[in-house]
Amino acid sequence: MSELERRVWQLLRAYPRSWRDERGDDLVATVLAMSRPGQRWPSLRVAADLLISGWSERTHLNRRASGSWFAAGWRVALVAAVMVQTVVAGVRLRQWMVDGFVPMLPVLGAASAYTFAAALGGFLAGTVAWLCRLARTARVLAAMAFTSWFVTVFVFQLALSGYHGSVAGLVAWTYVAALATWGLRQPRPTTPWTVGIMTAAAGVIAVAETPSVFAPSPGGLLGQPAWGVEPSWIVPAWVVGSILAILVARKDPRWVVAMSLLLPLVGLLHPRAFGAVNAGLAALATAVLFTAILAPRAADSR
């Protein structure tokens, strides 16, 4: 067995054992046929493809949405939660952002605090959509997270505060940038109006907290109670949720189920710091779930 073959078999461990036993030989033969003479390592593209495809096969994420889409949505949510929690817990994203943007210009700092909800939602949703192989959805949502947060806040942060940042924090946002870049390179680029709507959704969530932006409380954003409910976000959250559901629920209900499970959890992660934002995220999740139940399931796309 050559070194290349041995390494390909190692990559195939991402696939379930039964799949490897039945089709592993064929797949390995294909990879070897594609390789150059004397090649010892699979290319990065092939390695990533095998890992992602194997993972999809193992988690049944490559199955078309069928009658068991609700259970599949739970599975997607679990996988995404593990992935995202690993990143967030590892880099202490919340603390990095709190320490980073609070000292900035008051208006920009407050506004960026609220767009964090949209950015985190986009980050999470993009990951989930990517797991569901909804390339177009992942592209749009990752672009939303990337543009609404990384460019406007991260760039300003470095420019204005001289913040050096933590390597781990940079890794997290590199992941978002990579996800957005991957999504943007997919064939059939997203139509501009879709990206515009999604970007506007980030702004809607931020604007939903307008009273706090222009009349900050003495405790500031961070002093808000955990379960404070601001009626100003209800309508925008429902509008955003409806738009999201109409645009993506038709494609694959698994995504909607997974996001509806995850968004309230994300909203509950740091209640003391992001009270009103949590409520906004929870409302968004409720709106998405409610609308998704009513939205018709679409024909599968092959």
Partner: protein, 102 residues
């Protein structure tokens, strides 16, 4: 129908092929535009098999490894014909519009 799927079915419509054969033929048919990665290809073949559009044709042993050949079935051919008809209609619309606006 997604473009890679269209070309996979087209490759198999000519004759039964194994995985690498499909990758090579799709690359030729698409003028190098579509480079299928092996994992993605086998996932697509699985889905097409589930839908009854393709079936395993035979297995051959080459260099000590099993190679599975796939062939297209009638539902797959029908789907391919329908897609070709749709694309022809779309091209006709585009050509007509461009001609009218010239």
């Amino acid at each position: 129908m997604r473009r890679p799927t269209f070309f996979i079915l087209s490759a198999l419509a000519e004759k039964p092929r194994h995985g690498y054969g499909v990758i090579q033929r799709v690359l030729d048919l698409s003028d190098g535009d579509i480079r299928l990665a092996p994992g993605t290809l086998y996932g697509a073949l699985e889905r097409l098999h589930e839908d009854g559009w393709i079936v395993p044709d035979r297995e051959e042993v080459e260099s000590g490894r099993r190679r599975r050949y796939y062939r297209i079935e009638e539902p797959g051919r029908e789907a391919l014909r329908a897609e070709v008809a749709r694309l022809r209609r779309d091209v006709g619309v585009g050509a007509s519009v461009l001609k009218g606006s010239a």
